[in-house]
Subunit: 281 residues, 2 copies
Amino acid sequence: MSFSIEEARQFLFRPGFHLSDVDPASTPGVSSEAELAADFAQHDREISDLQENLWANARSGVDGTGSVLLVLQGMDTSGKGGLIKRLARVMHPMGLSFHAFGKPTPEEAAHDFLWRVRPKLPEPGEIAVFDRSHYEDVLVQKIEGYAEPAEIERRYGAIVDFENEVAARGTRIIKVMLHISRGFQYANLVERLTDEKKMWKFDRADLVARSKWEKYLAAYQTAFERTSTAQAPWYVVPGDNKEYARMVVKHLLVEQLRELQQPWPRPVDDLETARRHLDAS
Amino acid sequence: MSFSIEEARQFLFRPGFHLSDVDPASTPGVSSEAELAADFAQHDREISDLQENLWANARSGVDGTGSVLLVLQGMDTSGKGGLIKRLARVMHPMGLSFHAFGKPTPEEAAHDFLWRVRPKLPEPGEIAVFDRSHYEDVLVQKIEGYAEPAEIERRYGAIVDFENEVAARGTRIIKVMLHISRGFQYANLVERLTDEKKMWKFDRADLVARSKWEKYLAAYQTAFERTSTAQAPWYVVPGDNKEYARMVVKHLLVEQLRELQQPWPRPVDDLETARRHLDAS
C-alpha cells in the first residue's frame, strides 16, 4: 500500500485541530525507509508533466492559466531549505520561483507588512515557494513585541483578505508548517556547530526563538485558527523525519497541480501543412 | 578513463577556430553510453558543494564573493532548456537564477540592447543562466536586418566592454553554443509536431531561421571572432547528443566554481561558548 494524496489531507488544520495533535516524530502511513523512498518518488513524473503543462499554457497565452503558491513555515532547522531543494529536482526551473523572507529591511519595515510579499507572488503558470513569509509578521513580531497586539489582530484579517484576493486570481495556495520537536532542533543545531559546511547557517538569534518554544507553538496555533481557510488552508506536517515531510508536501502539491491541468496547447491547426512547411524549410 | 575538465577546453573558441571544426554529432572523449552517464554525474556532489559554498559566503556577507554567468545560445531545439533543467537538479534553487530572453518587448526595443540584460546579471553568490541573451542582437537582428550593419558593428564592441565590466565585478562568464546539425533539428521539429506534450513549443517562426541555417552559422562565427575574450570565452560544444553537451557544460561550470571557492564562513569564534548557550537555550 503506498501513501495516498487522501492521507496527506490528515494534516489539514481544521476547527478543533490542535498542534499537539501532531507528533513531530511520527510518520503515519509509512512503515519503512524503502516504503518512504517509493512514496517520495511516487508522483515525480506526474509532477514534472503537470508543471510543464501549466507552464506551457501560460507561455502560450491561454486565458485563466493558474499558479501555485507554497508557503513554508517552521522553527529554525525544520527543513524548509532542504524541501525546496528536493522539490526543485523534479521541476523545470523556468516555471519555479523561490523567495526567502528574512528580517525586514528598513525599506520593507516602513511599508505595510504585505508590501514586500506582493511582488513575489507567482505569475500565471508559475509555482512560487516562500521560505518563511508574511506569517513571520504574526509570529516573531508578536512574540518579540515588534508590533502592538491590536496591529497583530489586524494582520490576521488582512492576511485572510489578501490570500482570498490571491486565490481569486487563480493561485492555489498551500501553507505548510514543518512541525519539528525541540529535541530534533537541538540535534540539528549541534550539527551546525560541528559540520564546517553547515556552520554558516548558525545564528545566535536562533537560540532566542528556541528559548521561547512554547510561545511560538501558541502563536502558530492562533495564526492557524485565524488564517486557515478553504482557499488557503494550513497543513501541519510532522517534520522530524525530513524525508517524510517532503514526501507529504509533494503529495499536497500534485493534488493542486492536477486541478490546474488543462489540455496541452496546440499552436498548429493543420499538422500536414506544418509538416510540409518543415520539409520545405 | 573518465572525461576531464581539460578535455572540455578543446571546445574553446580560439583564433583560427572555425565552427565547421566541430562536428555536431561527435562526442570526443566518450565512447559509450555508460561512460557518458558516469562522466555526466562525475562532479555532481562537488558542484552542489561548491555552489553552496559560494552562496554561503555571499549570504554571510563575505567581501569579494564571486558569481557565475552561463550564456547559452544555439539554434532552435538545440537543448538549452533541457540543459538548464538538468543543471538545476544538482544545485540549490536559492542561489540559481534563469532567464529566457525572447523577442524584445516594445519597451525593451526602445532601449539600448543591453538594457534588459543588466537586471538579470547574477548577484554575488549566484549562478545565473541565460537561455538566449544579448547575442540575439547580433544574430537574428543581423540576419533579419532589424538593425543596421553599422549598429551591429557597434554592438560587438559594446558587448566586449559590457562583459569586461561584468567580469571585473567578479562574475565568471561562460558562453556556450550548443552546436547542432540541421538534420538533428529536423528530427526535433518532427517530434514537436508529433508529441502533443511538445507541440506548444512549435513556432512557425523557427522555420524561418531554419531556412537561413548557413547565414546563422556565419553570424555565429563572426560573433565568436569578435567577442570571445579571456574574460568571457565562447565554447562551441557538439549538440546532437544532448547528454554529451550537458556533460561538457557541467565540466566547464565546475572549473569556474572551483576558482570561486572560499573557506566556509565561520560565524562562531568560540565553539564551546556557543555550545553552552545552545545547551542553556
